[in-house]
Subunit: 461 residues, 3 copies
Amino acid sequence: MNKNSSNIMALAPNTSNKRETVCIFGTGDFGRALGHKMIQSGYPVVYGSRSTQISNLIPKDAEVLGHAEAAQKAAVIIIAIQRQHYNFLTKLAEVLHGKVLVDISNNVKLNQYPESNAEYLAQLLPGSKVVKGFNTVSAWALQSGTLDASRQVFICGDDVEAKQMVMNIVRGLGLTPVDKGSLLAAQEIENYPLQLFPMWKFPIFLSLGLGLFFFFYCLALDVIHTYIYENNNVSFFIAISIPNRVFPAMALTLFGLVYLPGIFAAIIQLYRGTKYRRFPDWLDKWMLCRKQLGLIALAFAALHAVFTLVTPLRTFSSWTTSTEIITQALNNQTEPLNHNKAWLNDSYLALGMLGFFVFVLLGITSLPSVSNSVNWREFRFIQSKLGYLALILCTAHTMIYGGNWFLNSQAYKWYLPDIYMLALVVPCAVLVVKFVLILPCVDKPLTQIRQGWERNPRYSE
Amino acid sequence: MNKNSSNIMALAPNTSNKRETVCIFGTGDFGRALGHKMIQSGYPVVYGSRSTQISNLIPKDAEVLGHAEAAQKAAVIIIAIQRQHYNFLTKLAEVLHGKVLVDISNNVKLNQYPESNAEYLAQLLPGSKVVKGFNTVSAWALQSGTLDASRQVFICGDDVEAKQMVMNIVRGLGLTPVDKGSLLAAQEIENYPLQLFPMWKFPIFLSLGLGLFFFFYCLALDVIHTYIYENNNVSFFIAISIPNRVFPAMALTLFGLVYLPGIFAAIIQLYRGTKYRRFPDWLDKWMLCRKQLGLIALAFAALHAVFTLVTPLRTFSSWTTSTEIITQALNNQTEPLNHNKAWLNDSYLALGMLGFFVFVLLGITSLPSVSNSVNWREFRFIQSKLGYLALILCTAHTMIYGGNWFLNSQAYKWYLPDIYMLALVVPCAVLVVKFVLILPCVDKPLTQIRQGWERNPRYSE
Amino acid sequence: MNKNSSNIMALAPNTSNKRETVCIFGTGDFGRALGHKMIQSGYPVVYGSRSTQISNLIPKDAEVLGHAEAAQKAAVIIIAIQRQHYNFLTKLAEVLHGKVLVDISNNVKLNQYPESNAEYLAQLLPGSKVVKGFNTVSAWALQSGTLDASRQVFICGDDVEAKQMVMNIVRGLGLTPVDKGSLLAAQEIENYPLQLFPMWKFPIFLSLGLGLFFFFYCLALDVIHTYIYENNNVSFFIAISIPNRVFPAMALTLFGLVYLPGIFAAIIQLYRGTKYRRFPDWLDKWMLCRKQLGLIALAFAALHAVFTLVTPLRTFSSWTTSTEIITQALNNQTEPLNHNKAWLNDSYLALGMLGFFVFVLLGITSLPSVSNSVNWREFRFIQSKLGYLALILCTAHTMIYGGNWFLNSQAYKWYLPDIYMLALVVPCAVLVVKFVLILPCVDKPLTQIRQGWERNPRYSE
């Protein structure tokens, strides 16, 4: 059922003896862990082993027999031995004929062998029904019962009946089987547990690099420049002030980079006059990690929001406020409200908050369960229309924040532009080109190309 | 596996030739896009076409043959032609006998034909096994490989084996098949991609209308009235101050509207003395969009929270503060803390934050993956108990915010009540009637009716 | 399809008569509600009843016959009668032979009978194919069409064909069938709707107890002590100030308690020298509710964040600020910025925000749909590495917040430590022991044990 009830089951083992016997070949760590869990869930377990000497590592209630005897006792045999020892199973081919063999092996690196372990096993024993499964579950998690993560067990195999039997066992252990189709999927299933956020690598390294650049840029202009020319040590800016200049710059730049590849793709298609040619590899890869880039941009935007809201609580901020007020009070004066400044200030705050709000909506719709419940038309509406709306709002927020500061020579310490100007480069470029692309005279041919039309439809011979 | 690994697969085509040949009838845009993707995923593809002249639009590695020859090469035939041309397939009935035909067609509008395209195809070719599928995937997405949205492919068909074959192909392309049952589901599957947030339309239009009304109401009382009678131009209030009066009013009113139909339903059932008669249509429709109303209310509440927290950063706010302090300083006085005001102020802030917190919890539990992991009892506990708790907290927040301001004649500019009083109307009405409904003397008969009891159980002859 | 389109379907009943007749035994509330829904979805329905007198409770379009006649009209028979009346079905054994019987019964309490109702029914009628289902759906929800919660219907049964037929009906009603395997799962399915957040009970009671303790502790030291010794009534602190001292203390302590059982487990394994012995029961239970503890800790952390950000809006806070400034102004002085204080203040704010940010990331990855899309390696990376990072950041935040206040005798009112010191106890203990555990000399044997190695591998005879 749900995680909770399954967890309870783990504590209150079902001791019904109606479950069918399962045989496990191999008494290694994973074989033992799986056996423990199966016995807890009410399955009689028999181990097939070279030595029938009973180690106390093996669950108490399990039987240990020779391979052939063990195999005869069960319809389903879990092959908990390593690929390099699969060869010896050919000797048992007769006993294993018609049996369901579950390959649970994992490799040490991606695509280690030309064919998957399960396909190799199926080649060795053509008379048996090989099913791949259980390799995505951790032995330690089975042992400790703390299956907090995914309870999904990916299953594949060519025999539908055999797959059903294994899926029933998976369900019996409180896990969720996921049918991945025929044994061809075994390679993918074997590669799965070896991955560590493959799609996140490039976006994270890019963010790190960009972040470090922005940080030192800002450190130089805000802290070091101030120290050298004004002899004022504001090193405590490193904690909040500087991060809060780096975060929005990161967020805006990365957000622009989400929409840049789409712009490139449109230009390439317009130039080539067809959509039936592959994009260059770098563009393909870039397009595939747009979601990750967007989520990292959202994370920086969220940090920027919190770091900004905390401002009034800072010692520095209250000191600034009180100094200003006391100066005015000692001069016996009250400044009138600057309406223009109030307008600008309120506008950029409002734009920022609205932009962030739409950005968060985008983030929520990228949750797997939400994006699964919308169709393509709805998804494109959100990601394209709402996405550009958020980009426009955030760019406008940054521009109004800057105001006419870019005309001021003080903004260019060491002749370098302020960080907020750097942050505007990518999003402004995206928005300008996008504006050109949606002009009817450009949009019409692009739409035609995307609907399959070709400018130079050369027919071969 | 997950999106990521599938994306990788798209880049590293599996060139194994173990996949079975797939035939595609029709060389239109979607047929070509699907063929490209299949070849990338290792399927041999043969096109059936009237003209066997090879256009370079067709993927290089595909064969192009006449319809009959092509059909003989494969067990699964994708029908990528339009419904109005299905007729010509009857001539091929003999060749197509026993084959799996995949109807991938879409219509231009909802329920365009009396029966679905797939059912029509099945009627034309009773000897073939028709499976509906692939119509919910976009050709452009298949082509560009950027399947960021739902990877679900809805499949239905009367033949289980045929469905399994198509589902295996779906998996082979890195997509997730979802079995929707027999061919009767084809109509629904064909309508699916045409929708654009059907359940959100009414709530969004209602919010727009209500929002515009509140905005102009507030503009009139806060900006225009001030300008006319105090000759004070506070037009910059449009950016933050006025939205931040409209947002909470919207949130509270919409939140009340979420619970109002439940109240109506209870009254109707009590009046009729039975639950076995349908509610009026408007009530049915209203009840079905409560979740959407609630989420929009939550969005406004979130905007209200952020717009409030940003207050101390506003130029207007710091000007007000410093003016007040300087005035006091120049008068050589410090006002003592008003304990009563501190109590009221802290209370309404705390109530608002707690109400918002419970509201966010409600929002999180309405995420598909979370609501799928709770049972009915738990779901009703959250939505009913926690929902009313949030409504009570938010209503109390607004009431204490107002305090005794409603007794002040200044609150009624142009004899109109302040916006916060308007916002209280719906939630207060809901809470009062709900309080009556949970009185034992009312609750008991209502519970009986909901358990199937009838006040006037007339037996027909 | 998705919830929305299904909801629409409910309003626009499919009147196609292609659906196969379904028979319902029993005219109780759930039987009637299910019949209504089936007729709406286009299924001809025939009721089997002792009395064929037609009550108007029964849907108009349904037929009512004696049990035997009704059963002959349909292949699928819904058994909507209570378990204690199942006996009488044995008389119909012949008519029911080969039919699909759907057991939809629920019990009043968990594990009420030794075997599940569905298994009991299968024993009584060995010639019929029993399928468990529909018991997780509420009659009231079916009736009113407002299926906002889970649309999942858990199905189990030993006959695959029979299960397919029932799953098709489930889909026909706009619900989502979930195959739970063989009839052995019936017990679990019958227990499911009776649960009310079983895994949340202990964490919630623990939080309540801890929260009350912290609240009164804080009330005594902050309000009562101040009232007695300074004769200053700050009772309004109850609304925001005291909660905002209790919330972070709760969050930090509960967060520490999430990682404490893992520490205990490691120590026990090191001491025993094996992982093949069960942990004590209390530790097992504690480990199973770590996710819930973590989410409650996150909720308190979020409340702490909001209650802190609202500070500048409080009457008390603006009074404090203006009093301080006026005092300075009247003394004709401006205090210089205390750089040390600015550093400390900014540091603890930044650490707190970063800690909260990582904590929120942890919360997002614990959403079912997100945790399902990562593999074990990724999940452990997030929960272990990121989790400890968040704990370290939050602990450091609290420590720097305290600064050297713990050296001040004023911090110990009534000789009791301040609440922030209490909050540091658990996380500091966890971090210190964890630090010892990751020292190579301790980590190496622990890793070996977790990979299956045993210190005393006693072989039994």
